[in-house]
Symmetry: C2
Subunit: 599 residues, 2 copies
């Protein structure tokens, strides 16, 4: 099995060389986040990732989580890895110093979180969920709630969850039934059953803090009657110490295709004591505040799968000997050549590489926008970042996870039959990564969010804001003949994208199903263009570095070659998508339900 190696160099390329993070951090007042400090933190994170998380990934899959009498035991080494993580101070990176945090930027922690997932998707989910819980309390909790819950969560001695889904409602949260009844002391008694609660029960920490959606008595029906509560597994005394057990119980854990070391719990609340967070009936709005980072986080899990699959496939392709190169032997002393000489193996590897690097650039670009929304004190800059983020978040979530299905599948395919065998680790990657297009809003949900809520909902404004950036970039590049073909391809696509959007809008005015009918193809189409824009920008930077005489020639030349591959062989996927989109909704909707026959 190939050892996972954190993609430090490539991440730093995107942060520092592509996106100018040194100035970005300086401008936002992160005095500690200097180039040297960022590099040092990344080096430490890579050590933890590669030496602690990666080695327990396979055993995590093999043994999985065990449930007995409401208790969940995580696989060997998982608890200890979490202790190491806490001792390393990783949980507190981005949080305010007043609650014990280190006040470092979101984008730095998030870039590192990709590596955690790449080494061990299951393990990385536990701290990931805590971050969602912390962010919710930070943004919407009262001062007292913050004092009570945050220090232990931020330190990592407690972990957190997000409890949304119920068995009859996943995407359609308006149907949720959990009830919250006010008590005399200002607390609430919450009753209901939540499913699919990641990290809902485990053996990592002294306490688990659940963020729970439920309905107050007489709340309006649908999504406007949902409130948000914090419900600890153990009640918390006013001094923050752990008190009595709350009426919160893990009823069972799911048996799943993958992420088997991540406990996916049924959590029963039986008049559990909880605290209202934010305004009554505004729970969903509070949740949406963090949808962006949660969805980018899921996109990162997809990217992480791509990274790990690329590493595995590449190692095997250089090692496995089968057949000769059609150009003549390159390994004449061996019985055959390494399979990386064969064009179709290279097609798979380059596809992985193109998404590994292009998708990472897009993800970190979005993190930069999140930084601006969180930390900028320039209102206009903040608004622009929010607009771009609104557009890009569903794309990052869905595009990075959909392309990860292809890349992790290639991870297996490059190994041939061996890819199907557990010991090589590639099939675990495919299984673990498969969840990413389903949880945190399916691809279909992201696509409706993008095309319906964001683009149609803004009358195209959000698209214009981003298109302006791309347009300006391409215009500024016009002098550079080397990049004309790629730059023109992006500009042409940009024009087609805008026009296609207008045509869908026209059709949707008559038939609202036109939005759903176009949505997923439209999202993928958009993703290919945006990642193409990232590749154009990366190529320009790489050429500049080569012109400046960099001694990392292989690294930068590979960027240019991979950009060439992307523009030749990947970007043209837009042709089929555009063609499908323009056929409209009729071919999907005309068949009556009873024509879908089995037999």
């Amino acid at each position: 099995m190939q050892n996972f190696k954190s993609p430090v160099r490539d991440t730093l390329f995107v942060m520092n060389e592509l996106l100018g993070f040194e100035k970005h951090y300086e401008k936002l007042g992160f005095e500690d986040a200097t180039l040297d400090m960022v590099e040092a933190i990344c080096a430490e994170a890579a050590k933890f990732t590669d030496n602690v998380l990666a080695p327990i990934n396979a055993i995590g899959d093999e043994i999985g989580c065990k449930w007995q009498d409401g208790e969940v035991t995580t696989p060997p080494g998982f608890k200890e890895a979490y202790q190491t993580y806490v001792e390393g101070g990783w949980p507190s990176m981005t949080h305010p110093e007043e609650f014990g945090g280190q006040g470092l930027p979101y984008s730095l922690a998030s870039s590192i979180a990709e590596w955690f997932s790449g080494a061990n998707h299951s393990w990385a989910m536990y701290p990931g969920l805590s971050q969602g819980c912390i962010a919710t309390i930070l943004a919407h909790g009262t001062d007292e709630q913050k004092q009570r819950f945050l220090p232990s969560l931020i330190e990592g001695s407690w972990t957190g969850t997000m409890c949304l889904t119920e068995s009859h409602c996943g995407s359609d949260l308006g149907m949720l039934k959990s009830k919250a009844v006010p008590n005399d002391d200002g607390t609430y008694s919450i009753t209901g059953t939540k499913i699919f609660i990641s990290a809902g029960e485990h053996d990592f920490s002294d306490n688990i803090v659940h963020i729970v959606l439920a309905r107050l008595p007489d709340a309006p029906e649908g999504t406007r009657g949902i409130s948000l509560f914090v419900i600890p597994k153990f009640n918390v005394n006013e001094d923050g110490s752990v008190g009595e057990r709350n009426a919160v119980a893990c009823g069972s854990i799911e048996h799943k295709m993958g992420i088997k070391a991540s406990a996916t719990c049924v959590i029963n609340f039986d008049q559990a004591k909880g605290y209202l967070i934010g305004e009554p009936n505004r729970g969903l709005n509070c949740m949406f505040t963090f949808m962006n980072s949660a969805r980018i986080g899921t996109g990162l899990e997809g990217l992480a799968g791509t990274e790990a699959a690329f590493q595995g496939a590449l190692a095997y392709a250089k090692d496995r000997l089968q057949f000769r190169s059609s150009q003549g032997p390159v390994n004449p002393d061996g019985p055959a050549d390494p399979i990386i000489v064969h064009p179709d193996v290279r097609r798979m590897l380059l596809t992985q590489k193109a998404f590994r690097e292009g998708n990472r650039a897009l993800a970190i670009y979005c993190m930069q926008m999140v930084d601006l929304t969180l930390y900028s004190d320039n209102d206009e800059e903040k608004q622009v970042a929010e607009a771009k983020l609104a557009l890009l978040t569903p794309i990052v979530k869905a595009f990075l996870t959909e392309t990860a299905q292809e890349t992790t599948s290639y991870g297996m395919q490059v190994y041939g039959g061996h890819g199907y065998i557990k010991e090589w680790g590639m099939e675990q990657l495919a299984r673990d990564t498969r969840i990413c297009t389903m949880y945190e809003g399916t691809t279909g949900i992201q696509a409706i969010d993008l095309l319906g809520r964001k683009i149609m909902g803004s009358n195209g404004e959000l698209l214009k804001v981003f298109a302006k950036e791309v347009q300006e970039y391409c215009m500024n590049l016009r002098g550079k003949a080397q990049f004309n073909a790629w730059s023109n391809a992006i500009e042409t696509h940009l024009g087609e994208w805008v026009q296609m959007t207008q045509e869908i809008a026209k059709r949707a005015a008559d038939n609202p199903d036109e939005v759903g009918a176009a949505s997923v193809d439209y999202l993928m189409y958009s993703g290919y263009i945006i990642v193409g824009y990232m590749w154009l920008k990366m190529a320009v930077v790489a050429q500049q570095k080569l012109d400046e005489g960099s001694d990392e020639k292989a690294f930068y030349q590979a960027k240019l070659q991979t950009a060439g591959f992307y523009f030749d062989r990947i970007l043209s996927r837009t042709r089929s998508l555009a063609s499908a989109i323009e056929t409209g909704a009729e071919n999907l909707m005309s068949m009556p339900e009873d024509h879908f026959l089995v037999g």
Copy 2:
């Protein structure tokens, strides 16, 4: 979990209404294979499939095969299902009456084999491998070998395997090392270790007959020095009774992503007694005789995954309530509408349906060609069938299994998060079906076979033979205005296909890597056109049935609607593929191996 239902109606539509199997069987002299008899056999097969095989599919995955001290125990119910299969006479369907067979046509058994796989992929592999073993002995064995091995294999009291792969050679069989030394009595002592041997050891039968590739002393290197042997697990006395144990041992079984109830064995031959089949050093040629049906068989496993995933997704889409139709509630008394009202859910279901039916038509069309190669006494007809089969076999193998990755993935995706949970059965389908693009020659190997060996190797002749059929069909259709758009689409594609092939040939004359660089995209491109041709033909038949006043209106209208969906939304996938193909090999081959960096 959705119960599997054998697609009897749809299979009979293809056999009888689309491809005229009644006359086809009559012409080939299968007097027993009348319409009524075929229907009766299908009905019996469906009973066995739906009532015996389907119910043990999930437990097969959960418990898997167990290895201990060289013995393999199959999951509960598997052995009993095999007994039922034997008692039903299913193993002997297509074999000669002189060895106890029923002399029924290949295509009938093969159509039914799809259903076995759809209900229980793992189980279906055991009898599937026996068929390969039987066919090999029938074609290349001596009369004595046939008498010794065939009656018990055909009866089903013994099973068979095909032992090709060794740890260092999968696709590249020229590297294989197993040795065969002649004994004085005309037998051979075979020594070597084979891996990935499906059904290599199990508890179904009294004996297991291995077909094994090995090298004679002083055999030439490479593929021209490989001979074929039959090696029984227990030696067989001259009267056909089981004798002493042979030096054949199962060293272990693989732990795999899926098909866990199929024993994938390491088989050690330690001076095992074996019999040469066919000429010395011609073993690979003997194997190739059956490559067509083995590869069509794997394609059928992909189709079977598509079928089962469609059934599961459709049931859930009609049942699961989430959100309202954008056209207004269709289930006003319920809390939400079934998700089949949403356009993107329909896009996934219709994609499954389009491949389920279009791919089945292609598969059975190929079986018809196999019938002709096996049973026709008209040399010209036989030659044409062989030519078409040579072209279509790698496409059926790869296209039906690659599209099955998409359809089984949609099976999960339609379920949202529930798709990832074992109890719904959809994730098992995705895992089980994943192997199909890897074993029996990867997609890359099929693509090289198609474009290199078959198309370039015949100077385009094979493509011409098939193109002629399609061209003639489309020309005959020109009068029917209803089908003009689809027929024109096929004709246009046909022209582009031929031209593209010529262009690749031109480039390949200078650079042999051009073949590999185009190959997989070319194969998929070809598949989309051919399945489009199948959809055109199915639509024409369906319209005719409607015109004749059939009372199966929903069935035939659905065919027309699904054809419309295919021509609108699936066929246009050729646009991206054609665009990628024409970019050539340079973008794949120019990057030096050491530019593929990790980090």
